[in-house]
Each structure stands twice: as C-alpha cells, then as structure tokens.
Amino acid sequence: MHHGKRTPDRDKARRTIALVGNPNVGKSVVFGALTGRYATVSNYPGTTVEVSRGSLRAGGDTLGVIDTPGVNSLVPMSEDERVTRDILLNDDIFCAVQVMDAKNLRRSLLITLQLIEMGLPLTLALNMYDEAGERGIKIDAAWLSDAIGVECVPTIATQGWNLDKLKDSLIRPRISQYQIRYHAAIEDGIGEIIKLLPQARIFARSLAVMALCGDTTIRAWFSSRLDAAALKKTGEIILSVQSKFGEPLGYLINKWRLKAVDALLQKSVSKEGNSKGRAASFIGSVTMHPVWGWPILLAVLYLMYEFVGVLGAGVSVDILQNIVFGKYLNPWATRVVELIFPSGLIHDLIVGQYGIVTMALTYAIAIILPVVGFFFIFFSFLEDSGYLPRLAVMVDRIFKLMGLNGKAVLPMVLGLGCDTMATMTTRILETKKERMIVTLLLALGVPCSAQLGVILGMLGSLSLSATVVWATVVVAVMFIVGFLASKVVQGEASDFILEIPPIRMPQLSNIVLKTLVRVQWYLKEAVPLFILGTLTLFALDKTHALYYLEAVTAPLIKGFLGLPIEATQAFIVGFLRRDYGAAGLLALQQQGKLDHAQTVVSLVTITLFVPCVANLFMMIKERGLKSALWMTAFIFPFAVFVGGVVNFILRALNLTL
C-alpha cells in the first residue's frame, strides 16, 4: 500500500487523517496497518515523539495519514503533546481518528470530549478490545456511538482485527453534536471570549476553553490573531472568571468533563469479576518490587551481557570478522582490486591499511553490525514487554539526585541503542532543565549499542573485574556530572508522573520488523561516517600528517593516558563516531598492543567522547547551537582527563585486572 509517491502534495494537504489518543494505546500500530509504513511500536508511553506521515487509499481517494505523539490532554504539558495539538489546530483535518484504550475509556473519553469541542470530524477506535475483555470489561459500543454521535469501532490493532471496518468508517466521519456545558460563570467567560475571536479552522468555543484553561502554548496563536485591545480583554475575562473559583480553571474544566465522562461510562461500560492471578500482572509487580526489582534488574543486565556481549560481540563478530571478511571477502576484494590496480593510491584506498573495504566496511559490517543487530533484538524485547517504565520506578530516587526523575531513564536506556535517537526522545521530558541534563549525560556517558557491544566484547576477553571497573567509572562520572549539572543548569525539575503499561508478551513480528528498521537506519547513518573516518586516516597517513599528529599528541596519549601511540588513530576516528574509535581499539587489543589496564583506560576515555557527528547535529537541533557547543567543549577534554585519572589510579594501585 505505498501510494505516497503518487499523491500530489496539494491533495495530501487537503485531506488528512490524524491518529490521536493517549500515550501507549496503539496509534502507531493502527498507522502501520492503515498505511503499510512502519512507525516504531513499543510498550511504553512516549515512543512516538515525531509525527510519521503516510497515506491511505480508500474509496478511490488518497488520504494523508499522520501518526501523532500521545497526549493526555489537548492542553499540552510537554513538547510532544504540543506537536499533536498544533496539528489539530493548524492542519486541515479530514478526520481525527482517536485510538482509545478500551480498558481505560475514562481517560480516553476525556480527550474525545476535547476533540468534539474542537468540532473535528471524528471516528473512535476502541483498541485493545481483547485486553478489556480479559479484564471482564464489557462495552456497549453501539450505545456509546449513539450517545456522542460518532462511529465507535472496537479493534485489536496488533492482530489487524476490525481494522477494515475502521477504515470504512473513517472515510465517512461525523461531526458530533454532543456538547457539555460547564459552570454558568465559565460558560459566560467562553461566550465573551468567542466574541473576540476571528474565524478559525476549529470551533471558537474550544479555543476559548483552552484560553480559560491557562494554556500558555496557545498564547502565540492568540497574539498573532488578536489586536492588543482584544488580547487585554481576553486576559481580563480569564482573570474575572478565575476569581470566582478557589481552584484553577483548567482543573475545574477537567472535573466537569470527567463528570460527563462518568455519566457516559455508567451507561455503556460494565465490569464483571476481577482479573486475578494472571502471570503478566505478577511479573508486572515483581519487576518493580522494592526488593525483588533489583535482582531482576541485575538478571536483565546479565542476560544482555550474555546475548549482546558474548553471543553478538563475541561469537558473531568472530565468525564475520575472521572467517567471512578475513578468509573470503577481504582476500577476494584484494585480488580483484589488484587485477585492476596492482598498487598505488587507489589500491590502498580500497584494500590498504586504511582501505574502504579492509577498514571501513570490515568495521561497519563485521564488528559493529552484529552487535547492533543483537542489541536491538534484545532491546526491542525489553521495550515491547513493558519493563522499561518499571525500571523508571526503580531508579526514580537515584535520578532525583541529578535533578531528574525516573522518567528520564527512558531516553537514557534508549541511548544504549542509539544516542542520536535518544537525544530526540528527551522531548518526553517536561522541563528545559531536564532535557538539558539528559542530553549532556547521553552525549557524555551512555554508550550506544555499537560501542557497547565492542566494549563488552573487549572487556569480556579480559575479566569480570575489568568490566566492573569500567562500568563503575562511567556510571560514577555520569552521576557526578549529573549532580553538578543539576546545580549549574537553571530551571526546575518536574513531577514524576508516569504511566506503567501492563506487561505484555512481545510480538515476534514487531521485534523483527523494528530490529530491521533500526539496523537499516544504522547502516544508513553509520557507514558513510565510517568511510569518511577512514578517508581522513588515509589522507593523514599518505600526507604523513598522522605521523606528526601522533608525535604531537604523544605526551597526552602516551604520557597522560599511558597508551600506545597507535591509539591516536582510534581517538581521531572517535571524533566522528565513538563506536568506530572503539572498533579501532579492539583491533589494537587483538594485535596484543593493549594490556589490561590500557584497555580499561582507553575504553573509559572513548566511552566519554561525544557519540558521533550525527548526535552532535541532533544536539544542535534540539538544544540549540550554543548549548551543544558548550557541551562538546566540556566533554572531550573531560573524557581525556577522566581517562588520565583512571590510568594514574590503576598504575598507582598496581591493580591486576
């Protein structure tokens, strides 16, 4: 169903279907089913932080489809919620499809009322209908549909159940006539504000309610459309309405909505029996248990080490590097190239010491790719099971010391997959201060899967104590920097309010699909940089600049860090991608040029480098040029400094690792 290319752009702009709903209700699954495009699907709130666009062919028409980040209210509290609200506010919506969690209709309907208030054509998908059934929840969809005047289609998106029916009804969306009336004083305020408003895409009533709710993000919309007098008047109306109540208006309005929702639920939903003794809910509880949660966390880490470190970085890399590349591909490539260019610059460029095939591709495909692949399989499993939000519960207190809360663990753990993706995911955090600190910690200390795999592979060949030293240093450095950053960075921390999804058995198809998408993304992202890094080394080598560079940095590399001079090359490419730098260190270790202590020192240093050029660009995009440059200027010297300190301590104590 890839019709995207045939769709003229103006058509797309004219008729758009927006998928909206609470976080973690399956919007991205529905998106995938409707458009045939894959949007990342996981089992935790906040997976989608950027909109995905696709298209859908229905009834001879092509409609654009937008997958939006989840929201709990259309009065946004975080950046990702704002994205969704802005789409509803500014785009020409042919139909809003609200994907609802059928077992949590109370919260879903709260959004439905707001969508109705906006006057958008609407269709409801009562998704996860099976989970509601398992819990004894019965929903009278027909009654609900009549009561609010829009289609309600029960669906199970992950199984594709009833999605054809959803598709049928979303091309004939209805505008609901259902309306709730708030307290008379609030209604008066709404009436007065409406008089001041110009024509808009959505109902003026909803804009007035948003203003009364104290929505600060809508101010720009108002100030660009109203003159100064009208703006002042709006502010006065809001203040005068607020002065009549002891509680904030936004809260009161939500309370009225909930009352209306409860009245609807009373007639449409019934619950029989209690879901009890289910294995999933036991796992769900025990994984965030104050005592058992910790051994489980250690077990998860150990499994990751075995799966990614040993099976991925050890066995698979060995097969690919030594047999596939070492015995077949590289000698074969060398022979082919030698036939055409027996020697000289081009020969060296392709298959020489710093050759594109012998170095860049060997590293990218033989060393990094299996590690990344294995990691993403494991990580997808964790994501889809619902374990990650439980981890957030476990570490909330620790994160509090860094001016963050447990929610920050989501981007941090995602950083173990890819720091660039994770930097984008900081949008789920509510305050600027938190986003700043997490971006810094990601750039400083969270090794991405590619690098982690190489590191685990190298440390695995040493000893457990080497791994422990490395991990302790990195974690301690992150903690100290986080703690200090929380004192330096201005702003405030936010409340820890996190929804914990049920534990679910991951779907194999989603894991495979997600891993493939991510691996593909990795290859597109990393291979060009690997080649660029190799070309840099090649150029430096051919011009003998490498020799001088090594000589210049020798006091630092040899003296301060106590490493062999060849490590300079690894650090140079480490500026481009630190996993590439780590791969260079791995090669050194395999050649027997690094002893145990040197391995640990070099790994600590490269771990603390900025992850890659792409990550730097993402930092600039998300945090602004100035902040990104400050962070970078701090990180590189600091990484070398910590490496030097570790070197000094290890030598002084004469530890055998």
Binding site: N72, S73, V75, M77, D101, K103, N104, L105, R106, R107, L110, A132, R135, I137, C213, G214, G246, E247, P248, G250, Y251, N254, K255, L258, L265, V269, K271, N274, G284, S285, M288, H289, P290, G293, P389, A392, V393, M394, V395, D396, R397, N405, G406, D495, F496, I497, L498, E499, I500, P501, P502
Partner: protein
C-alpha cells in the same frame, strides 16, 4: 452555654495571651481584635460576674468554666484556619480574618465534622496547638482518621479521593487529565521505591511530593472503572 461575640473574642485572647506567657489586662485591651469588639473593663467585670474569669489588679485568670469556653472557641478558630489553608489552599497569612468569622458560627456538630475531615490535626497552620475535642478522643480508640493523605494507607488498600491540596496549577491539571480528581477511586499498589497507584486499569507512578497532597477516605473492595 453560648456567649456573645465580644465575650468569645475576649476569652480567645486571654487564652492565646496565656500561651505567650502574659495575663495582663492592659495587654489584652491593646489587641486590635479585642478593641474592634469594643470590649472594655466592663466586659471583663461582666464575665467575672458570670464566673468565667477572676480579675486581680492588672491580671486576668480563667476560671474552669471560662477555660472550657475559651478552649472551645480556640478550637473552632484554629480548625477553621486549617480548613481554609488545606482544603481551599489559602495562604496561612490571609486566613485569620475569615477564621474569626467562622469561630462564632460553627455548631459543635460541624466542628467535629471538620476536625474528623481534617484527620484531627494537632496544630493550626501557624503551628499553635489545637485543643482536642470529643471526636479526637474517640479517634484514639479506632486510631483512624476518616480523611488522610494517601501515603498513610497500606499496600493493596483502596480509597476514594476527597480532596487534593496543591499550590501548583500545572500539577492539578495533569492529575485531572489522568482521572485523579476528588471522587475517583484508587488503589495503592506499592509505596517503594516509588509510589504506584492504580486507577481503573491505569497504573501510575507518582512523586512522593504529589502523594502527600492527595487526601483520601478508605473504601472497601477493589477499585471501580
């Protein structure tokens, strides 16, 4: 046993002056609220005649009957202050005047209800002790106030939210979008390492800061939708 407004006001200040270590009549008449009620030495003499106080030079001392009456008015005043600051989230510095109005109109039944609603608070918002009433003594027997912060509940217990006391509008708004409003039924799932509650089929982890602000009443059975 009811007294007029001026007498109640004088009794209240004899009590609170005594807490500060003073029993001077001159000091008493120097207080604004007492002056506002046009209370003078004649009022005190009338009270002496009614057996509420004894006067001796510049000193005034409460007699047992006056003691009881003063305790009652102090209790009403301080409970009213607590009600205004906790339930209506008013600033402790600005509740004084409203509380003064309340103390003269609250019936004993209403006073007990307020005391129970607030979980028999030991002190007023300014930190001064609230004299115990009959309901507080009863409370010692079953030891459970009707309304209390949700963190006082045990794991697995269900409760109905009675009120949420927060100075942060944003926090109240966010809680409301998740269905955490007065009237909702929630269950305590766990208290450590972070507080986790269940509301309907939603499981939520919440900051200890927020948890302290949610006041609830126990209910039997499991949570509703």
């Amino acid at each position: 046993m009811t007294h007029d407004r001026a007498v109640e006001e004088v009794l209240e200040f004899i009590w609170s002056e005594r807490e500060r270590g003073s029993n001077s009549i001159k000091g008493l008449f120097g207080i604004k609220e007492v002056a506002d009620e046009k209370a003078d030495i004649k009022t005190l003499e009338r009270m002496e005649k009614d057996g509420l106080v004894t006067l001796n030079g510049d000193t005034v001392v409460l007699l047992p009957e006056g003691e009881l009456a003063a305790e009652s008015v102090i209790r009403r005043h301080r409970l009213a202050e607590r009600l205004l600051t906790e339930v209506l989230a008013m600033d402790p510095d600005s509740v004084e005047e409203s509380a003064c109005g309340f103390e003269h109109t609250l019936s004993p039944e209403v006073t007990e209800s307020i005391c129970t609603l607030l979980g028999h608070p030991p002190t007023c918002p300014h930190g001064l002790p609230i004299p115990k009433g009959a309901c507080c003594k009863k409370e010692k027997d079953d030891l459970r106030p009707i309304v209390q912060p949700i963190n006082e509940l045990g794991i697995g217990e269900s409760c109905r939210i009675i009120f949420i006391v927060s100075n942060s509008h944003m926090r109240m708004d966010r809680l409301a979008t998740l269905g955490i409003v007065p009237g909702s039924v929630v269950r305590v799932h766990q208290k450590r390492p972070a507080f986790v509650i269940q509301i309907g089929e939603t499981t939520l982890a919440l900051d200890p800061e927020i948890i302290k602000e949610i006041y609830v009443k126990r209910v039997g059975g499991s949570s509703g939708l």
